[in-house]
């Protein structure tokens, strides 16, 4: 043993060098491949005499693959390169542990890969791959996790993203089961998850993603037809993986060990499906193309096109990775670190496909955000802090500008400098705000799975259309709108859309459509949730509302007002679920959530044609466009989005009702008047409306005129919480710091309307 040590050391170093070369390989990189082969030969020269047959086989295959790559006799190239890195990783494990990992998962993965690439026919398939090898006892695994919790946390976040991508991707696969691009788009994230889980030594996650991946692999090589059970199984796998990630996260924060999940059911299903799909002999790569053609036979042209596309541009994402190999250090930081670590750490686990992980991770990255430039991950609290400070800088700057002493100085240079400062500050503010913005697509795509599940459950055919996935929205907002969105989408499918039969009876196409649209409009983010279903049943809503005492029998309501009744808290009760086309269940909660975000919700419904809910929210929760108004000696801020118009009423347009209620006439419309002076007990509560200003504001479809003394200006205000003490005060949404450094209160119209009511 002892005299062997220097030699094994040399061997290990050699293999590590080899691993590095593999990682650096690029497609068509002939010099790189040459160097790889030379290196391989050198290592073979120093091999100990007693190396087993598997090692010899590995070396031979690696050489073979290398040669074929140079001669371009092997395809797909990416797969072959992956095989190289898997092989080298196996050798490394062998060199470290001085026994060959013949029964381990990586070996099986490698073996399968080699088979696919047609390398295995000469070699006798190793028989020992039969029993399910349990990789690594649990104890070893945990110590590994806690060593680098940050890496694991990153993995959790990334894996969740991947799983979401998979869910939406699967729906596409379901629609076009032969679309290789679509299958690849699902396959790749699984592969990435598997690779990284392997690297982090999370055997169960790795095992499960491997199972599902292998199923997908069969599908993409045309040996397995994608059917509903396959999709269901994959989704079940996704759900299980999500559970595992939840468990992993908990384990990470509580410093406990991982739960064991029972994967037997999924594994058995995979096996069953595979057996159904697998022909007697595993076909060689060249033959794989044939079954595909058969499947696509009904649509020959399409199939040919696909095949061409596939041959010329094998999975496009991979090409992008190729082009980006040897990435700038921050393009995909975790993978780069992983490479380093797997090199250095002498106690590194028999990292299944460790060198493959970075490549795989990069691949996944490129697939998910192909056009994204280099990024840095930053703790969100830092960004929040920055945004807050920016808000204060803007305020501080305007305080300086409004300093009376400064106003007496007339110095053009000072003026210029101040202008320059304010230009830079506002630009800084824009940038810092934009740092918090994320595309809404991820949130919208979560609905894809939801719609699929719902449509199956309710036996309706639903097509979901997503538009404006790139629309950016404040990160904090994304989380806040998720629940309302789920609610509205669920309502749309469950209650808005009719069953295929009903639809056909009305002469509509049997499949229902749901549109989710996100776009920017007038400084707001707008999200539409629209379906082409039956529309709101106003008669029944009205009847229900009267029954519940929300509307007095004689009361005249216009259609919009009737529609908005479904947002009334008293309106939604369990029994209405199946009644009035079910709308109204928890709709008050939806409305409240949106309004808490300083947003608005609108309904647009046409009988038999469908319903559209429109959520209109400020771009961020931190800043709103406000109108500063003066009431008495106080200043209040009104959300500009709610203000319809401002006017000074003529005496002839002002009426009182029984000496108490006040109304103004705006064109032909009668609008109740609210006196902020009285509600907030400030200033002259009896000021004649003709001497004041009326702000016509709209909230939940109701219009009111707010009486104020003056409008002081329109400005973007940074919303600050008034703190716990003032939570219960009605009519206030928060505070802000105005230009003179004083606090201004932001009005909450819902609260003010309620205050005026009673």
């Amino acid at each position: 043993m002892t005299d062997q040590a220097p030699k094994s050391q040399e061997l290990r170093e050699g293999l590590e060098g080899l691993a590095l070369k593999v990682v650096m390989l690029e497609e068509g990189d002939l010099p790189g491949l040459g160097a790889f082969l030379t290196h391989l030969e050198k290592i073979q020269a120093i091999l100990p005499a007693d190396h087993g047959p598997e090692v010899a086989l590995l070396f031979q295959q690696l050489e073979d693959v290398g040669n074929k790559l140079i001669l371009q006799e092997i395809a797909p190239v990416a797969r072959a390169q992956e095989l190289l890195s898997q092989g080298v990783s196996l050798l490394l494990t062998w060199a470290r542990e001085s026994t060959f990992p013949g029964e381990s998962e990586p070996w099986k993965v490698y073996h399968r890969g080699a088979q696919e690439l047609g390398l295995m026919k000469a070699a006798a398939a190793p028989a020992q791959a039969e029993p399910e090898a349990e990789p690594e006892p649990a104890a070893a695994m945990e110590s590994q996790i806690w060593e680098d919790p940050e890496l694991v946390a990153n993995f959790i976040a990334e894996a969740r993203e991947h799983l979401e991508g998979i869910e939406s991707g699967l729906v596409r696969v379901e629609q076009a089961p032969t679309d290789l691009q679509a299958i690849n788009a699902v396959f790749r994230p699984f592969h990435t998850v598997k690779g990284v889980a392997g690297f982090l030594n999370l055997p169960q996650i790795q095992e499960l993603s491997h199972e599902v991946e292998s199923l997908l692999d069969e599908a993409r090589s045309g040996r397995l037809q994608i059917t509903a059970p396959v999709i269901d199984l994959i989704l079940a796998g996704v759900d299980r993986l999500k559970d595992m990630l939840d468990d992993l996260q908990e384990a990470l924060s509580d410093h406990r060990s991982l739960q064991r999940f029972d994967l037997q059911d999924i594994k058995e299903m995979v096996k069953k499906l595979q057996q159904q799909g697998v022909p007697a002999e595993a076909p060689k790569l060249a033959e794989i193309l044939e079954p595909q053609e058969e499947i696509a036979a009904p649509d020959m042209d399409q199939a040919l096109k696909e095949l061409q596309a596939q041959e010329k541009t094998p999975p496009p994402a991979e090409i992008q990775v190729e082009a980006k190999k040897a990435p700038p250090p921050n393009a995909a930081p975790p993978p780069v670190e992983q490479v380093k670590e797997s090199k250095r750490a002498p106690v590194a686990p028999p990292a299944p496909a460790a060198p493959a992980a970075p490549a795989a991770a990069a691949e996944g990255k490129a697939a998910s955000d192909a056009q994204l430039p280099a990024t840095v991950k930053v703790d969100i609290s830092k960004v929040d802090n920055l945004v807050n400070l920016m808000g204060e800088l803007v305020i501080a700057q305007s305080q300086v500008r409004q300093n009376p002493n400064l106003l007496t100085i007339s110095d053009p240079k000072l003026e210029r400098d101040l202008a320059q400062v304010s230009r830079i500050t506002s630009e800084l503010q824009m940038i810092s705000m934009s740092m918090r913005m994320v595309p809404i697509g991820q949130t919208l795509r979560k609905m894809v799975r939801l719609v699929r599940d719902l449509s199956r459950k309710s036996k309706k055919t639903v097509e979901l259309h997503l538009e404006g996935e790139d629309t950016e929205i404040d990160r904090n907002m994304v989380e806040a709108i998720y629940d309302p969105l789920v609610h509205l989408v669920r309502n749309a499918v469950d209650h808005g859309l009719e069953t295929p039969k009903e639809r056909q009876a009305q002469g509509k196409p049997p499949e229902g459509h749901v549109w989710l649209r996100a776009y920017h409009k007038g400084g707001n983010v707008v999200i539409d949730i629209e379906e082409d279903g039956r529309g709101l049943d106003r008669d029944r809503i009205l009847a229900k509302a009267q029954e519940r005492g929300l509307v007095q029998p004689g009361e005249q309501l216009n259609p919009t007002q009737i529609d908005h009744l479904i947002f009334e808290p008293g309106f939604s009760t369990a029994e209405t679920i199946t009644d009035i086309s079910g709308r109204g269940v928890g709709m008050d909660v939806v409305r409240l959530t949106i309004e808490r975000l300083q947003g608005k919700i609108e309904i647009n419904s046409r009988p038999q044609q469908g319903t559209r809910f429109t959520l209109r929210m400020p771009l961020t929760m931190a800043i709103i466009d406000g109108l500063v108004v003066k009431v008495g000696k106080e200043r209040y801020i009104l959300p500009a989005v709610a203000v319809r118009e401002t006017l000074r009423p003529a005496a002839s347009d002002y009426f009182t009702v029984q000496g108490q209620g006040e109304i103004i006439k705006v064109r032909s419309q009668l609008i109740p008047l609210l006196r902020l002076h009285r509600l907030f007990r400030t200033g002259n509560g009896d000021i004649p409306p003709t001497e004041a200003l009326v702000m016509v504001v709209e909230h939940e479809g109701k219009q009111r005129g707010l009486l104020v003394d003056d409008i002081l200006g329109k400005q973007e205000v940074v919303i600050k919480s008034l703190g716990e003490s003032f939570q219960k005060i009605k009519g206030l949404a928060g505070g802000t710091i105005l230009g003179d450094g004083r606090v201004g209160l932001i009005l909450d119209l819902g609260g003010i309307f309620a205050l005026a009511q009673g």
Partner: protein
Amino acid sequence: MSQAARQIQQEASALHEKEGKYLTFTLAQEDYGLEILKVREIIGMMEITAVPQTPEYVKGVINLRGRVIPVIDLRLKFGLEAAEYGERTCIIVVEVQSEVGPVQMGVVVDSVSEVLNINGDDIEPAPSFGTRLKNQFILGIAKAKGTIKILLDIDRVLTSEEITGIDSLGG
């Protein structure tokens, strides 16, 4: 229950625990003390934005370096006669424990006197004044420099119920 328990515990565990440094201030010729550890800073009077639907003693909110904090007039809170704010009027910013964690608030006082080191031996429990006057805000009474200082339990003075004044909340 916890109220009673606290009462007993307060008296039993000697007043020694309350020994320490106090910021003293005056309110209508009376001397008061605040645990110095609760005090964040002392600022001069500034313009206060009134908040509607709050009891009279809640003067409103101020901007403390970008944060919005409530301000209480202690004179009004304790039912003393209101006074014009003058040169010496100050806002003491304290950090109190609320149900949701530490919260900063300002209290308006007539003037700030000094920081005093008060001995446990000099502290006596708050006497009961019967129903006329609730002593729940008082930690104890300290004898110092030939006069007395009323030591305030500021956490209790400034609970959110006290500030929103639930019963006085109209509308």
